[in-house]
Symmetry: C2
Subunit: 410 residues, 2 copies
């Protein structure tokens, strides 16, 4: 049924609706195992528990001498003269360290049994390693037990949760999995999206631009956003403003995708092609208390989840960033959430009553954020010169220069 409520919902309510719409897609058959590198930028589909300690064994944090700390104790300010024994290179399993001796040891090398501390080479006299095989002694200062020793398990212990299901797999996370000995990892498959831009006024870039026409930037803006977010995108080209043509197009593709995203045709004008094409399907159209990006559609078309974004490019991007991206990250661990940080406004702004405003801006290294362009949802050049979305919650009518705001880094 085509509902015609004009109710207003909050940003948080609509984000939760989008999450609920997509939650049924998180099924076991949407998981796969991938080699670590192929899993870059995907979401972890199951908890990973550490199968070993990291570090796996106590090792030296410095190039220096492995010693028994008791051998250098007791001489305040003095230290001791120790016999230098065979060096311990990284990667070797060393013999037990005899009392009264010091073993040259390299960073990362296993502590010899019996040794409990390391003296960095810079603190030794002489401050050089003797040539191997030549009898030598070295004078070392008193150091406490565990000096410059990395204990086994001091980073993570066997059996501890290494990464939780839903974690975004970037370089750091994949590096940890490699350090734990894993070669592959369970991840969620990429969702398949049908992206349909509508509007009799939009034409494909590269075509002649007639009067009243604009080039379609929504498709490029959203497809690239979706690809960056790890989605598989099918683009249909621009649909005309004929509802029956759009409905036929959606029916043709619906079975092959997980989600349909349309742009345009969702507000209260006289020619709202998406609203009209969705007649007879379970799709709601209403206003979200947000500027830009207020008019939104949500529901299912032939059983396939559908989101109707508004038609202006900034509204499209804001809809994606405020609703779809967080829902995907929350459900599938991919994409990663936008980093939310605080910054001080470089200039004052005003915000419409009863709406959550999202402005575009550039966060500067001094901790301020400069507005890029006005509030208008057509300002694609201003958008292209922004690195952040400035969040102005509902109920705030104006903010002064210097006011602290939450910004999402793009």
């Amino acid at each position: 049924m085509h509902r015609t409520q004009t109710r207003h919902v909050t940003v948080e309510e609509h984000r939760e609706s989008v999450r609920r719409l997509l939650a049924p897609l998180r099924t076991p058959d949407r998981m796969e195992r991938l080699p670590l590198l192929a899993a870059l930028g995907r979401g972890l589909a199951a908890d990973v528990v550490a199968p070993l300690d990291l570090p796996p064994f106590a090792n030296s944090q410095m190039d220096g001498f492995a010693i028994r700390s008791a051998d250098v104790a007791g001489l305040p300010g003095g230290g001791s003269e120790l016999h230098v024994v065979a060096p311990v290179p990284a990667g070797a399993a060393p013999a037990e360290l005899a009392p009264g001796t010091a073993a040259p040891i390299m960073t990362g090398a296993m502590m010899p049994p019996g040794a409990d501390a390391v003296v960095p080479i810079e603190q030794a006299v002489p401050a050089v390693f003797p040539a191997p095989g030549v009898p030598a002694t070295v004078r070392l200062p008193a150091v406490p037990a565990r000096n410059f020793v990395r204990d086994a398990g001091s980073d993570i212990r066997t059996g501890e949760l290494a990464l939780a299901a839903g974690t975004f797999l970037g370089p750091g996370q994949l590096g940890l999995l490699a350090a734990l000995g894993f070669t592959d990892v369970p991840v969620y498959r990429a969702l398949r999206i049908l992206l349909v831009t509508t509007g009799d006024e939009v034409v494909e870039p590269g075509s002649p631009l007639g009067p009243g026409k604009i080039y379609d930037s929504n498709a490029t803006l959203l497809e690239s956003s979706m690809r960056q977010a790890g989605l598989h995108v099918t683009r249909t080209g621009i649909s005309t403003d004929r509802p029956e043509a759009l409905a036929a197009l959606l029916r043709r593709h619906a079975a092959d995708v997980d989600l349909i995203v349309t742009t345009g045709g969702v507000s209260k004008g006289a020619y709202e092609v998406v609203r009209q094409a969705m007649e007879g399907h379970d799709v709601d159209f209403f206003g979200v208390a947000m500027q830009p990006g207020g008019p939104q559609g949500i529901g299912t078309f032939d059983g396939v989840p559908v989101l109707g974004f508004p038609g202006n490019p900034v509204s499209c991007l804001v809809s994606f960033e405020m609703f779809l991206r967080p829902a995907l990250g929350d459900l599938f661990g991919c994409p990663a959430p936008r980093p939310a940080v605080r910054a001080r406004l470089a200039e004052a702004l005003t915000s419409p009553a009863g709406k959550h405003q999202v402005r575009r801006g550039t966060v500067l290294p001094n901790g301020t954020v400069r507005l890029e362009g006005g509030a208008g949802s057509h300002l694609v050049s201003a958008l292209a010169h922004s690195n952040a979305l400035i969040q102005v919650p509902e109920g705030i009518a104006a903010l002064a220069e210097g006011a602290e705001v939450e910004v999402w880094m793009l």
Copy 2:
């Protein structure tokens, strides 16, 4: 020649050295034209000037009525009753608006010649569009000229610089290029990197882990970082600690790559395979005043630029983020710089004398940053739970809880 200076250089000096090392790679034959979507995540190789105005024509910012503002002036608080004429849908070239009339107009539709303002439908009485073809009037309030009109060129004008060479091409930038009618764009080709991890102590994930051995996480950590940064990576597998084997491996691959990156074997220990393999080549090894990641190598091997990163995983990542990534972004527009923001320390920290310290942390939405793990460069689990690098400049020995720091979002 193998230089054996022990000079210390600053972080900024070494970053500039890396930039100078790579600058000769920015040659005209390293540019190519790509379709917009294929250029996602690449760097723009030439300035792009706007070939048209955006918006291309004056258009309505709202669904409402296009009018001549003079027709509704002069009645304080009252407005005027105007005859409703044929609607202006988006994408059409409208006829001139006759005096005393109001044309229903949709968001984004071209302003009819003669019209100079828009009254939103919500402010009309009645607040609905009449059925087309039925004679009707509408009562509209007084509004100023240019009310809810988006002027041609108000976002960007023909001939203005749309995007500068070196700009990173994300969704917003590609969206602007599409809006300007472009279908392809000149970008820099991806650099080809040879990545060699060294160390007798490291073994490939998936192999049995003998005593004193650790799994190689550097290769995964760096290859995924480099892929994310748009580089083409060739990985050789782990080199042994035999210098002649490493040198032979480098000679075999050098002609096919733009840059060699090694890990490990660059500090002052007794077994420094990278330093030894570079004997006879123009490579410097020295300390950068940074923790972690101090020991660094830089130069050329058989004429190919080479960077020698230290052997611990956190040191590798910090070396990549502090030196190579900024240099690539600066020279080739790709990757984008890490967003640098300000945050307040959730806990106190100390930093070694005379060094720039880079700590790992999590920036929280309240504007604070929590330390993840200690300063140790082996803490890959702590790294995997971080979303930011905390910058503690040289000369700062301690920072209190609540102190504001610069953080780079990962």
